[in-house]
Subunit: 329 residues, 2 copies
DNA sequence: ATGAAAGCGCTAACAG
DNA sequence: CTGTTAGCGCTTTCAT
């Protein structure tokens, strides 16, 4: 792929000034006479000149592109959360006039992120070495949606454990004791923590854990279906299910209804995400809302500070919120 | 944002060769002795050297980043389609080792896309001048999801009119004549063409158009709700509704059921998109599938050819497919 | 306020 | 096969 022509020199010639002056007006330096500024601006307009970001970045040693790395891991990538993240960060980047380099990485390679002034890692799945590389290089970096304990890196995550606990406790408060959990892919931290939250909630209420009630999935609807069928087929089926994502909860609900059972009359369902589609199923799903957009924004802001020289890192856990709708009883 | 140090010179020194040789191994030129290649590779590893993409792009006049411009227009951007596009193109870029620059543009400004070797415009809403600029600059460009007649540019769009026609004809074949249409935002070409397809289908079957049966929305669920309520409140309400998107169809269905009517017994609903969530509502929605991923892939491939020197442009219309499920009768 | 000149890190002829 | 030498287009001292 080739890039274009019109360069600063032509502009300088047309305007009758030095390229330095042109550079100054491009960079909005104050030390340019009104007359010259006007001439340069006109020349730029006439030539439809757009400075080469590459040259600018190379010469200045600065750049304003932020890379967003999202593991191209099916279960995660194809989730509601990925889009929200891209939306949140993408929109904010547009507003801040930052370029967004989106990497949907398959993981392995230490890809080329030198072109970015800062990096946001969304989840760390199969790409921890990338993260370590970035840190070693001293590139401003923040991790979102994953709490990284053992590395000197800023991270903004969601309180998955807390949210899961709250969900399960809510179920308990409704009188349930036979509570199952359809877990997400434990390759993701979120899934692990939600499972942990589930277990802790039970433990704190003296409800003994039933291994049969815990089914691990890859977050896909297909596995959610299987999991639900398995749960329903138990000799002693649960009366409530805490599902690790709304889209799986939707599927679970569908399965339950296909079997002629009702939600929430026969079985209560509680999801996680507050995916808008959880509103439009046959029964509005009670769920745990996670502040995704906020996480995206906070992440970008943190990155911004870091690139501006801030040194202290910050590890944040964002609270979730239980959204009670109609799927629990 | 600052970028880093370790450069090709250090590598050359460590390896005891010239920077040219280093450059050669970086670029996988064949003309390097095994011995030197090995030395250089080791030096690179030792130094954890990563070449600066900026310098590479500047020096070579080439670059392998493609910009994807998506208008940050609510109705569209917050649709199923936007994500599918990002996924499709993002994933393919990763595979092809291309960098993806994502611009969620608010429209107006001629932003800086010189950093891209090629540009993909998804929809042209409020940013036609950007497109024209790119064309003028001679930057390889392709437009997807919008058929651009009057510009010399390759485009890959979906046959919205055909899909809409097919949907409405299907309704007609089921015996419906009182068919309403909840249209999308006519700021988007897709919405306009779907409306047109609806009108043509009626006309071709000699069904006279009832203006009351056509309600325009911004693609949002809120307006879909209002539209549905309006339609249901008519003295002579429709027996079938063709909704311009699945997410709106979901909402329409919810409204209908809230009013105690049934789908499809009382009213038939047909959507558009084949959004996966159309499967999980109370009734699986009959819809028109649009090959989004294919469109994304074709678009990127076309762009790739263009950057490789291909001159002829190509305007493609991708066919849709009617997916019959349970919401029509 | 302005310009000359020296790079930024790399690639690309061009010799050898 | 390898090194030398120019730049790529811009920013940035440093003079003036």
């Amino acid at each position: 792929m080739e890039t274009k022509k019109t360069n600063i020199t032509e502009v300088a010639e047309l305007a009758g000034v030095s390229i330095t002056t042109v550079s100054r007006v491009i960079n909005k330096a104050t030390s340019v006479s009104e007359a010259n500024r006007r001439k340069v601006e006109e020349a730029i307009r006439k030539l439809k000149f757009v400075p080469s970001p590459y040259a600018q970045a190379l010469a200045s040693g600065k750049n304003n592109t932020v890379a967003l790395i999202i593991p191209r891991y099916e279960g995660l990538f194809y989730s509601y959360y990925a889009l929200e993240l891209i939306r949140g960060i993408g929109t904010l980047c547009d507003v801040l006039k930052l370029d967004l380099l989106l990497h949907l990485t398959a993981g392995r390679d230490i890809f080329n992120c030198k072109s970015a002034g800062g990096i946001i890692f969304a989840d760390i799945i199969g790409n921890r070495s990338q993260l370590e590389w970035a840190l070693r290089e001293g590139i401003p970096t923040v991790v979102i949606n994953s709490f990284v304990d053992d590395l000197e890196v800023s991270c903004i995550a969601i309180d998955n454990m807390g949210g899961a606990k709250e969900a399960v406790k809510y179920l308990i408060s409704l009188g349930h004791t036979k509570i199952a959990h359809i877990a997400g892919d434990t390759i993701s931290q979120a899934a692990v923590l939600r499972l942990e939250g589930y277990e802790k909630a039970l433990a704190e209420h003296g409800i003994s854990e039933n291994q049969e009630y815990i089914v691990k999935t890859d977050y896909s609807r297909g596995q959610a279906r299987q999991a639900t069928e398995k749960l329903l087929g138990l000799k002693d089926p649960p009366t409530a299910i805490f599902v690790a994502s709304d889209s799986m909860a939707l599927e679970a609900m569908a399965v339950i209804m296909e079997k002629g059972r009702k939600v929430p009359q026969d079985i209560s369902i509680i999801g996680f995400d507050d995916n808008p589609s959880s509103l439009y199923g046959p029964v509005a799903i009670t769920t745990v809302r996670q502040p995704l957009i906020k996480m995206a924004e906070e992440g970008l802001k943190e990155l911004y500070s870091l690139t501006k020289g801030k040194k202290e890192i910050r590890k944040t856990l964002l609270p979730t919120e239980l959204i009670i709708r109609d799927s629990c009883k």
